[in-house]
Symmetry: C2
Subunit: 317 residues, 2 copies
């Protein structure tokens, strides 16, 4: 067992970086008592502003995130960064985790950087990003930036719970617009065309504007489109100013909170059920037996799942 | 209720395209009786060879899939194509579904094309691709091609259950190799550098070979790397010949089947439990009440989930 949860929580609330890192790991790994600990964290009403930053690989999301972080730190704000990496299907771990060694912002005052896999180690079904947001809030972070590759469904699901979603595109990625169309366009509150010193930046802006002309207007008005060159900090100050103004305008929006709470409840419930079932199945060896039954054609998978679920299902009618 | 399951299943086994399309829709939507129907389908021992084709947007996967299909049809084989599209986070439907109107192969004899979203409509948690593979097998398809954008976790999970996984890259996508590294490299049995008439094709091949030098050799030997220009059918015949030879070599591989059965069981179980819980929660209005409780700070989400799960959890101790 790790050190007592009470000590960890106290440390987190005092802003201890060590406690923060340990508590996040313990909750990610569903160490016994994690739910009770999260209840205590939840009693703390602090709520950081959450900004989702998403876009295709190579669009410069990390650099842009770093520059936004620097701007916010200069304003005296403390920042949490959650960098979501695609998981390895075999190890369950984050594959790009080591790239974080290169991040300079992690040494800025009040900045905490955490790399997470899209799925946890427990059967590929745990998804703790919502919990990490809560923990970072309780530790006193003012703003939390969640950075994800915006293509998969898991990535979209975490980002859409943010207070503001920023979609980063770049010129010269042949299918930038195709990638955008494929599922993230609808959740973007703000578009950033990064690497805007490259050829074709204006065309990407025009393509995005054309798409926005076609789409129905959201509750929050038409999303603005910004050009940046993150490596040179060009445009990032204006971008941050716009983010502040958009966040201020929607601070009282109940509907966003409603979506977020619903998302949290459903995902907590689904992952907890799946984890319980999966753990039991692994623990008592019945998964191995079931696989053997199917391989030897003694049973079919559907009958097996029905048998396993019968006692659970009767409680849910 | 749709027409009787028995009729549908009989139609599927006789190769009726209409029955096939209807049965797949019914199973995807978890229409009452779907599990019993899948048990009957499972009694049929036919097993098609499953080939996963994955790669970043814009790599020409659809064109390559079509050319491979044409080659296989010329050999007298019947083919099922499952095109997995990223889901819309709001509608739950496949966003790119309409692109299929352009596919010429769907009029070839014995070819059945189906577009699927990464997640189903029921709370974003249903995942029926395994079932669709079974249904297509039972309808007498010899080969099933599953085509996905290879970035998200869901996409990786479906593709890794294939008998053979083909990873498609293209020159000129700045971060082709970065994208490959991020999770799909390990599951590729065969690499295709498509659009090989573009500048930089040889560099992409060299980059892949360099990565393969670094990685530990898989059970099945070093994955071959092919160059193709799918739009001109260049290299596709050799590619198909290699696929046949690789599939023949591993036809007796028990370990692949074991992984696939385990994957099917765990995903069936997890999605079924989550669906049951989610349905009950929606049906009796307790989800809306729970959201309200959290928004008004009367309860925290973790306590709510624990309460809901208590009866289920006691069965799983």
């Amino acid at each position: 067992m790790i050190e007592a949860w009470d000590d960890l929580i106290a440390g987190v609330k005092q802003g201890s970086v060590r406690s923060l890192a340990r508590m996040i790991s313990a909750v990610e790994n569903r160490v016994a008592g994690w739910m009770e600990a999260m209840k205590l964290i939840h009693l703390d009403r602090k709520t950081a502003k959450v900004i989702g930053i998403t876009g295709p690989p190579g669009s410069g999301k990390s650099t842009l995130t770093d520059k936004i972080t620097s701007e916010l730190v200069q304003e005296g704000l403390s920042i949490g960064i959650i960098a979501v990496d695609p998981s390895s299907p075999y190890s369950g771990g984050a594959l790009l985790g080591d790239r974080l060694r290169m991040r300079d912002v992690s040494i800025l005052p009040g900045v905490f950087v955490r790399s997470m896999a899209t799925r946890g180690a427990l059967g590929g079904l745990t998804w703790a990003a919502h919990d990490v947001v809560k923990i970072l809030s309780a530790s006193g972070k003012d703003v939390i930036l969640i950075e994800t590759v915006g293509v998969g469904q898991d990535e979209i699901e975490i980002v859409r719970t943010a207070d503001l979603v920023m979609l980063v595109c770049v010129p010269g990625q042949g299918d930038a617009i195709q990638a955008i169309k494929a599922g993230v366009m609808e959740i973007a509150d703000l578009f950033v065309v990064n690497k805007a010193d490259l050829n074709g930046a204006d065309r990407v802006v025009a393509d995005i504007e054309a798409m926005l002309d076609l789409s129905s207007s959201s509750d929050c008005g038409r999303p603005p489109v910004f050009k940046t060159v993150a490596t040179q900090s060009t445009g990032t100050r204006d971008l941050v100013a716009m983010v502040h103004s958009m966040l201020a305008r929607r601070s009282d929006e109940r509907s966003r909170r409603e979506v977020r709470v619903k998302e949290l409840l459903v995902s907590l419930l689904a992952t907890e059920v799946a984890r319980l079932v999966h753990e039991k199945w692994n623990r008592d060896g019945s998964l191995a037996l079931a696989v053997e039954d199917v391989l030897r054609s003694r049973k079919d998978p559907y009958s097996i799942v029905q048998e396993v679920l019968a006692p659970v299902a009767s409680h849910l009618k």
